[in-house]
């Protein structure tokens, strides 16, 4: 091998060092870029020529230190963590209505209603005590109404968030599809697509904060589907997410015309949907049944007795006592039907004005399984437990998945993250390498100059 060949080797070495320094510079520049995975230069000894002498170094590839499995885990944990924290935060306005300290809760107003009945039973003809019963009944009705109204409002807020999150997810899906297309094109052309991959990774993490999804890699690039396989993105095509009002007045989420509401799991969107369609919807239904059955039970006793004027009792609460009635909407519409305390049927049917035997029957309702299969107090206590437990579980899950997420992010960062120390030391290494190669070139230059000078004789003048 000659000097010229050595010169070539050195030039290649210079180029390799330059490219390595480029990579280091890019790494340092993107230290804090979301989705960025640090890159390393893969150097390779160039293929030897026929005589076996080396031809120097080649940059084989610029490798992205991406761990796809770890990325998937981080995204899955992100979806879980956001689901739990959204469930917790979206439900918290409701739980104060069920606290033991809430003086105007359904539970405490029902207690006060039964107390007023008991007080009336000590003096059934007392008109001020009769008025107190009506006031207490009115408070029960307002407690049902305001609780139902807060539940509905909370559902509506969750619904608005569903619309906003859907719009964001939609925009992310479009970008994912576009990036996906670019990656496929680049790969088909054999070009590097590291920066597209970084961008895709960042988009996928953002999407997982909004909704959980499944991914499949195919020759067309990435395919994103919901939990039941409904496509969201296939290759460079995104199925647009749209909202559509359902019969409950809330927005369902559609992907390319398919209703995916019930298949969205995880993420903020999954959290809002779970709160809106499951927890709050169930509470609303239970509350309606509670209100309806309570009103019905009181009305049944009330209509079996006689009022202060000896007239047959009429229903105390609207909605009235009907066997065909349905409970839907009962909590938000329950009201007191009576206008005067004298209409309270304290006496048994046909009983004297001072009789309290029908009141006794009404008081007994407090300990009868008349609402949701249990006593009114237990029905309320069960609702308290139910909402408290849902939020408490969500909080626990949010903390647990938060810790898991931090762990995974640490792992991810330890593989993919840019270390300034490492890059600085690489920079030094490549600088020395460049200096070495440059030195070789200058040495060869000197040698070549010497060789060229050899044929020149001193003219001697």
């Amino acid at each position: 091998m000659g000097l010229t060949a050595d010169l070539n080797v050195s030039v290649q070495s210079l180029l390799a060092s330059t490219e390595s320094m480029d990579v280091t510079t890019t790494n340092i520049a993107n230290q804090n870029t979301p989705g960025y995975a640090r890159r390393t230069v893969v150097l390779e000894e160039a293929a030897p020529v026929d005589d076996g002498s080396s031809t120097g170094v080649d940059v084989k590839a610029i490798q992205s230190m991406r761990d796809n499995v770890l990325d998937l885990s981080v995204n899955a944990a992100t979806a879980q963590q956001n689901l739990s924290s959204t469930v917790s935060s979206s439900l918290s306005p409701v739980q104060s209505l069920f606290a033991d300290t809430a003086s105007d809760s359904i539970g405490s107003t029902i207690d006060a209603f039964f107390s007023s009945l008991q007080q009336l039973s000590t003096s059934p003809a007392d008109s001020s005590l009769r008025s107190s019963v009506l006031t207490a009944a009115g408070n029960v009705a307002s407690a049902f109404q305001s609780t139902a109204s807060v539940i509905t409002q909370t559902q509506q807020q969750a619904d608005q968030s569903v619309v906003q999150e859907t719009a964001q997810a939609n925009s992310l899906l479009q970008q994912i599809a576009a990036t996906n297309g670019e990656i496929t094109t680049a790969q088909n052309l054999g070009q590097s697509c590291n920066s597209d991959q970084d961008q895709l990774s960042s988009l996928l993490t953002q999407l997982s904060a909004i909704m959980g999804y499944n991914t499949v890699n195919s020759s067309d690039g990435l395919t994103l589907t919901t939990s039941d396989g409904t496509p969201l993105v296939v290759g460079s095509k995104a199925y647009p997410l749209t909202d559509q009002l359902n019969s409950s007045g809330f927005n369902d989420v559609y992907a390319g015309g398919t209703d995916i509401t019930s298949t969205i799991q995880g993420g903020n969107l999954g959290g809002y949907l779970q709160s809106r369609d499951q927890t709050l919807a169930n509470m609303g239904t239970q509350l309606d049944q509670f209100a309806f059955q309570f009103a019905q039970a009181v009305n049944t006793v009330q209509t079996a007795g006689s009022d202060a004027n000896g007239n047959a009792g009429v229903a105390l609460f609207d909605p009235p006592n009907t066997t065909t009635g349905t409970a839907a909407g009962a909590a938000s519409s329950i009201s007191v039907a009576l206008t005067s305390g004298s209409q309270i049927a304290a006496a048994a049917s046909g009983g004297a004005s001072g009789d309290n035997s029908n009141l006794t029957n009404m008081i007994d309702l407090q300990n009868q399984s008349i609402t949701n299969g249990v006593t009114p107090d237990d029905a309320f206590s069960n609702l308290t437990f139910s909402i408290g437990n849902t939020i408490s579980q969500a909080n626990t899950a949010a903390t647990a998945t938060g810790n898991i997420l931090t762990q995974l992010q640490n792992q991810q960062s330890s593989v993919e993250g840019v270390s300034l120390d490492e890059e600085s030391s690489n920079l030094m290494l490549y600088e020395r390498s460049y200096q070495g190669a440059a030195k070789v070139i200058s040495t060869i230059d000197t040698l070549m100059g010497n060789v060229l000078d050899m044929g020149v004789t001193d003219p001697g003048y």
Partner: protein, 300 residues
């Protein structure tokens, strides 16, 4: 293994947790409660709802007992007056039956007994807060009505009793119908009024044996009223005993409620201090790491 070069996510998470722990401890200390909302301890909150309800019931049982005590005391003192009047009538009857008095004396005794009869009617129609005490559950109208022409007294009340709950599964009767007080057992037509009337009639006619018979009837009525008065006295006693029990029950409930939701102040204070220390240390560590030297410091 390669070390995670980005400590920031870890630090943010730690700072969050430390801050949260401090907030929780501070809330516990300021409210004195470990459980401030259902999600803090769902089972304890559910129990609290039930305890609150029990507590409200105990309060109401106490209030009911108070109200009933007033009514029953009125009944009791009314019957004391009835007893005094009847005792006077009995002694007047004994005096009249002794055979030592002339008709004029008997007539003046008869006048006094007639006055007792009138007072008796008024007592039998005693009301409390506008409600007649001795008309059964027909409390809206006077239970004993005297016929304007004949003076015959008729009972227009009923024989029902009201019951009021004063404890879980415990109730007391709150009244005695007039027929159980002023009529002879087994003979509703034999009343205090008929006994007094026959005494007046016998005195006016000067019939010694008739006076003696009538005096016995009045004495029988006295015994019945005495028996009836026991109901009022013993019910008031029962209410008093029950109120003491309810007060104890209320204490028990409050004590149990405290174990359910109250903060252990010593624990909460130590938690608060601990959280504060962790937070301070985390913040200090974060600041420290930020100043940490790296290789760039030495490269020139």
């Amino acid at each position: 293994m390669r070390v995670n070069p980005n400590f920031s996510t870890d630090m943010v998470n730690l700072l969050d947790q430390a801050q949260q722990a401090e907030d929780n401890a501070a809330q516990e200390l300021s409210t004195g409660r470990r459980v401030n909302q259902p999600s803090d301890d769902p089972a304890a909150e559910a129990s609290m709802i039930q305890e609150n309800s029990l507590s409200a019931a105990v309060d109401q049982y106490t209030a009911s007992s108070d109200s009933l005590t007033d009514v029953l005391n009125t009944g009791d003192s009314t019957l004391s007056s009835v007893v005094t009047l009847l005792q006077r009538a009995v002694s007047l009857g004994v005096e009249g039956a002794s055979g030592t008095m002339n008709q004029s004396d008997l007539n003046s005794i008869a006048t006094e007994v007639a006055t007792i009869q009138t007072q008796m009617l008024s007592l039998a129609n005693t009301s409390y807060a506008g409600q007649y005490l001795f008309g059964g559950t027909a409390t809206g109208t006077a239970p004993y009505v005297a016929d304007a022409a004949t003076g015959t007294v008729t009972y227009v009340g009923n024989s029902n009793q009201n019951k009021v709950q004063i404890g879980t599964g415990l109730s007391v009767a709150t009244n005695l119908p007039g027929t159980s007080i002023f009529s002879q057992p087994g003979d509703p037509s034999a009343t205090v009024f008929t006994a007094l009337q026959s005494l007046v009639t016998a005195l006016q006619s000067g019939n010694s044996s008739g006076i003696a018979t009538a005096e016995v009837s009045v004495d029988d009525s006295l015994k019945t009223v005495n028996t009836a008065q026991v109901f009022y006295g013993s019910t008031v006693d029962e209410l008093n005993t029950n109120e003491s029990y309810l007060a104890q029950e209320k204490l028990n409930i409050t004590a149990y409620e405290n174990t359910l939701v109250s903060a252990d102040t010593a624990n909460a204070a130590s938690d608060a201090t601990e959280a504060q220390t962790i937070l301070t240390a985390t913040v200090a560590a974060t600041a420290q790491i930020d100043q940490q030297v790296n290789l760039l410091t030495y490269l020139h």
